[in-house]
Symmetry: C2
Subunit: 302 residues, 2 copies
Amino acid sequence: MSLLVVGSVAFDCLESPYGKVERALGGAATYFAVAASHFTHVNLVAIVGDDFTSKDAEIFRGRTIDIEGLERATGKTFFWSGRYSENLNERITLVTDLNVFADFKPKLPEKYRRSKHVFLANIAPDLQRDVLQQVTNRPKIVALDTMNYWIERTNAELRETLKHVDILMINDFETRQLSSEHNLLRAAKHIFKMGPSTLVVKRGEYGAMMVDKRGVFCVPAFPLEEPHDPTGAGDSFAGGFMGYLASAGKANDAALRRAMVYGSVLGSFAVEKFGLDRLRSLKRNEIHARARHFAKLTQFSL
Amino acid sequence: MSLLVVGSVAFDCLESPYGKVERALGGAATYFAVAASHFTHVNLVAIVGDDFTSKDAEIFRGRTIDIEGLERATGKTFFWSGRYSENLNERITLVTDLNVFADFKPKLPEKYRRSKHVFLANIAPDLQRDVLQQVTNRPKIVALDTMNYWIERTNAELRETLKHVDILMINDFETRQLSSEHNLLRAAKHIFKMGPSTLVVKRGEYGAMMVDKRGVFCVPAFPLEEPHDPTGAGDSFAGGFMGYLASAGKANDAALRRAMVYGSVLGSFAVEKFGLDRLRSLKRNEIHARARHFAKLTQFSL
C-alpha cells in the first residue's frame, strides 16, 4: 500500500572519527524514503534548491520512490553540518542553513492524496497538520516524528497535530520532555491522552521500545563493532517500520512487532557507513538475514 | 547443585523519592543469596558485627541458605547510606563504614569446599582469589562482579583473579573502564583475553547484554511504573542468573539465555520495594509469571 512521507531533503557535511564527507545527500525524508522503499512504494513530499542535480535525484529514481512531490525552488538546498565525538555518542551541530526549506509549504500531488500510510517527519507541526489535511479520507496509519525545538517553541501547535496521529516515534529525551514525566510507562500514558495510541521510543544504542494499550515490546540495537555515522539512524528506523507496515497492510500486534524489528534492521544498516552509502547498496536478502539475526539476539525458551 | 557466594552483608540507610529506611538489611551477598535461594541451595560466606541480631538472620533461615560461613566478629556490621535522585537514576553515597568488613578474611567451612558454582561478589580481588583457592577441584562455573574502585586501585590483582573466572558480570561503565574500549563488542574481545569466556553487561534501565564466542544475547529491563529503590538490583540479577544456572546444572546457550531472563526477573522484583522487602515475600509462581512476561516483552515472529 502507498506510503506518504513529508520531511527534509538536505545536503550534509558529516565528520566522525571514521572520516569526513563534504556533501552527502541526507535529510529525514531521504533516509526514510530509501529505507521504506525496500518494502513498499513511497510518495515523497519535500523541497530542494537549484543546487540539487539530476545526479542527486538518482538515489530516488532507481527505487519505488515517486518524486512528483519533490518541489524545486530557487536557492540552495537545506544544508547541515555536524561532527560526532570519538565514541559517536555526542553530536555537535556546526551549521544549519535552512535555505529553501525555510519557506517550505508542502503541496501534495493529486495522486498522493489517497495515501493510506503517512509519515510526518520532523518539520514544523503546523506543516505536518497541513499535509494531513490534504490527504483525502483518514489514512489507516499516521506516524509522526518531532524534536525538542518544536516541543519547546510550538507546543500548542504540536498538541493540535498530535490529535490526528496514531503512532508517535521519538527518542527518550523527547518523550520525557513532551510528557514532563521521566518514567517511560507513565510518559506513554500522558501521550496517549494527547492522541497517539502507540508510542515508539528510539533509544539509540539501547534499541527501541513500543508501548500501546496491549503492553510493551522491546527490541535491542543491533550490536556493531564499527558504526561509522549515526546520521539518519532514526529516520531509517522509521522508514523500515512504516515501510513494513504499509507492505503488510495490517497493524495488529504481530505486525507492529515485526515493524519494530525491520525498523531496527534498517537503522542498524544506516549507521554502518557514511550517509546513505549502506542503505544505497542494501539487498533484500541482507535485510531478511539481519531480521533473523535479531531473532537470535533476543529469543529464548523457558 | 550447590552455589557458593562470597561478599558483603550490610546495613543500609536508603533514601529515595518514595521514602526512607534507616536500617535495612543489605549487602551484595545478602541480595544475591536471597535471589538465588528461589532456585537452589546457597552457601554464604560473609562477615557481620555483634550488632547483627538473630532477628536479622531470619532472612536466611527461612530459605535454602547455609550460613555456617557467616562469620561474626566484634564490632559493627558494614554500614552504607545512600540517597537516590528524583528519577532514581543517580545515587549519592552519604556514608560508607566498612567496620568489621575492613578485616574480612573469608574462610570456607569444610562442606562449602566442593561447591560447583561460585559467585565472587564485589570485594577486593585478592580475597576473591583466596576464596577460589579454598574450593577443592575446579568449580564448573565461577562468576565475578567488581567495581571502579578495584579496577582503578588493584588492577593487577584483578587481572590475576580474572584468569580463573568464567563469567564476568559488571555494568557498562565498568566494562568500558576495564577494557579501555567504548564499544561493548570490542570491549568483550579484550575481556576474553583476560580469562572470562562470557561477559554479562548490566545496563540498569536498559536491561542486560551477554556476549560470548557464540554471539550476543540481549534482554530488556522489565518496565515498571514505580520502581522504589534500585539498591541491590545488580546483585539480585546475579543471584537469579547463577541460581538458575546452578539449578539447571548445565550452561549451554539455551541455559545461559534463560539465566539472563531469570536474572532480569529477580532484578526487576528487587527494585519494586525498599531493600529486600519484595524479594522477601516473592513466590515461585510470581517468578515464573514474570519470566513469561519477559517473553511477551521481547518475542516476535518473522
